[in-house]
Point group: C2
Chain length 367, copies 2
DNA sequence: TTGTACGCGTTATCAT
DNA sequence: ATGATAACGCGTACAA
């Protein structure tokens, strides 16, 4: 804050003299009532006579009056804003969840304050600077962040309802999918096609992004292998960084081997697209030479005819927003704080497109 | 607003008794100074002795004190928030611009309030409900929205600095690319490869999304054709909805014709990917049977080996944020309002990948 | 260097 | 049904 003068002090009592901004006093004067009545009339409270309400409304309209959200917040203690914390805004998953949440929140008159904190390695901004978050919103939505314990503690101290999407924190409401099951389903699909040498490109759990997702999807792969009676150490496991570029680089090395796998499962569609790109560069046909499968059902997956396990993404944002809204409504109705640690898992399903096929072909082609 | 009781009124004077939230009074009492001194000390003003500053700081730390942004805003007239208006959050372009802007703004301690208004057809929320925007932020960033005149007027009345990305409004600072030139470059590239029958899938300017972009890119195509001495009505013009699905549908019909074009230019990479998908479904090889080119350099374009005209997207967000910040700083320094209607065009460049090739092959293949 | 006191623009309480 | 008026929590002239 620079030492500049505050807002117009001791402004002349006329309406909107300087800035074109009028206050509740201007409206009150013009309508010939008190500010209290203006406030009541404008908010639709019922102890206002129709005649005065009409006068107030037209006065407000004439003056382009809108109540200052700042002052309202100070007086009521509510901000009408929901904070959203995510690692990135620009990645498909986050952007889509955010979009779903935003539209649902806005429908309820709530605003969205955005915080993207980035990945830990690359100078991730921690949330520890409490200044940023404190008292700025009434509820918080956290999307697939790997939070440090100190950050979780700080968010707890905020004393507001919190819902997460894609991560699990003790005591916070959560929406997501069963990542273990999703990966299991995907791997099972490939095994069902007869593939026995299946590579898996997962997330590196040493990197603090999507750590839980990386771990869970890996676990699902192992579970499927185990159930099929295959050694769970069998697949070549590659650790990606969840980006298509990283996955392409990894896949290029993998698929160039003489004993290359007959199928590749990627932990995300974006990585799967990187794998497809690598396959094409190496002159491999999909799925004749190699099957490729992803998880997510990315918006662009169909342009690659990518077989995948679909999860509802925007819906997760919407549902999370819905939970927040419910909690907020309940909170304003009484001291009942919130539903604690509720879990909402959404269903996934296989979407079969052209990038996977029976192993027979792949083997025949290789032979 | 429900008729619930306001915030804890007449709270007991003890620090953080109820909610764990302490006020400036609590800090003042604990440090044995006045609230004014606390305010000065915490904001780093220089007329505070070192000893008292130390006492205040430690008192504030002990109490987990953070100044209420709401109260600060009311007192100073500044919110420390920048509004961002975009049609969608979840589409790559918007999400990426937003990401760039957000990171730059946050680096300057500014917050981002998000408004996605959707496309006009599908129940687009107009901005006309002034309640939503009024007095909520100090500056506004508008990303590629087609605004109605009434909306523009309303935004003008906000009386705050506004910068746009990807649209042009009289008197507002603007950052973007030269869309005409970008499309010209793309079409010229294809013509340079010998293509004479080039289809163009553009945006439908009857739909109120990206209308200006649609018009400009179309104009660029015509300019290139004109310069090449070709009839500007030559290319089959298809009107897409900027989505990959829509483009695929259109391209499927187009490429199935016996007299199909030897190349297709799409007004965006996302549409180009739809075209590629259509080509593959029809069994056409790219670029042997048909060349495909896009504009944007989408993050996933490389997975399709898509040749395109790249534009810097995140950078546009960053630059826009930078302009806003400059204006804000200047505004707090004095009454000098803002740079009016400055234009910042960023460069584009052809990124040649594998989806385009000389017409010879296509013609030979067709023959 | 520090303290006092007022104003920022509302909402909510208590009278009337 | 309406009007005064005290909070809400802070910034900041002005006085000391």
């Amino acid at each position: 804050m620079s030492p500049s003068p505050g807002p117009a002090r001791r402004r002349a009592p006329g309406p909107a003299t300087q800035t074109g901004v009028s206050s509740i006093h201007d409206v009150a004067r013009r309508a010939g009532v008190s500010t209290a009545t203006v406030s009541r009339a404008l908010r639709g409270l019922d102890n206002v006579s129709e005649s005065t309400r009409t006068r107030v409304l037209s006065a407000a309209r004439d003056l382009h009056y809108v109540a200052s959200p700042t002052a309202t917040s100070l007086a009521t203690g509510r901000t009408g804003v929901v904070g959203v914390v995510a690692p990135f805004v620009s990645r498909w998953f986050f952007a889509t969840v955010l979009g779903g949440a935003e539209s649902r929140l806005r429908a309820h008159g709530l605003h969205v304050l955005l915080f993207s904190i980035g990945a830990p390695g690359e100078g991730r901004k921690t949330l520890l600077d409490m200044q940023l978050l404190h008292k700025r919103f009434d509820a918080l939505l956290v999307i697939a962040c790997d939070l440090y314990e100190a950050e979780i503690a700080l968010l707890r101290r905020l004393g507001i309802p919190i819902v997460t999407v894609g991560l699990e924190v003790e005591g916070w409401d959560r929406v997501g999918i069963d990542d273990v099951a999703a990966a299991d389903t995907a791997m099972t699909h490939l095994l069902g096609l007869g593939h026995r040498r299946v590579a898996f490109i997962g997330g590196d759990d040493a990197v603090d992004v999507h750590r839980a997702t990386a771990v869970h999807r890996m676990r699902g792969v192992r579970r499927a292998l185990h159930r099929a009676g295959l050694p769970t150490a069998c697949p070549e496991l590659l650790l990606g960084d969840w980006t298509p570029v990283g996955a392409e680089r990894a896949a290029r090395e993998l698929l160039a081997r003489p004993d290359r796998p007959s199928a590749v499962l990627a932990a995300s569609d974006e990585m799967a697209m990187g794998v497809l790109s690598a396959a094409h560069r190496l002159g491999l046909r999909v799925p004749d030479d190699v099957s490729v499968m992803g998880i997510d059902d990315h918006e662009l997956a169909f342009t690659h005819a990518l077989t995948t396990v679909a999860q509802p993404v925007a819906e997760q944002g919407e549902l999370a927003a819905q939970l927040l809204i419910q909690t907020l409504v309940r909170a304003s109705g009484g001291p009942g704080v919130a539903g604690r640690g509720r879990l909402h898992l959404l269903p996934t399903r296989v979407v079969e497109r052209g990038s996977t096929g029976p192993v027979a072909r792949a083997v025949a082609a290789a032979g």
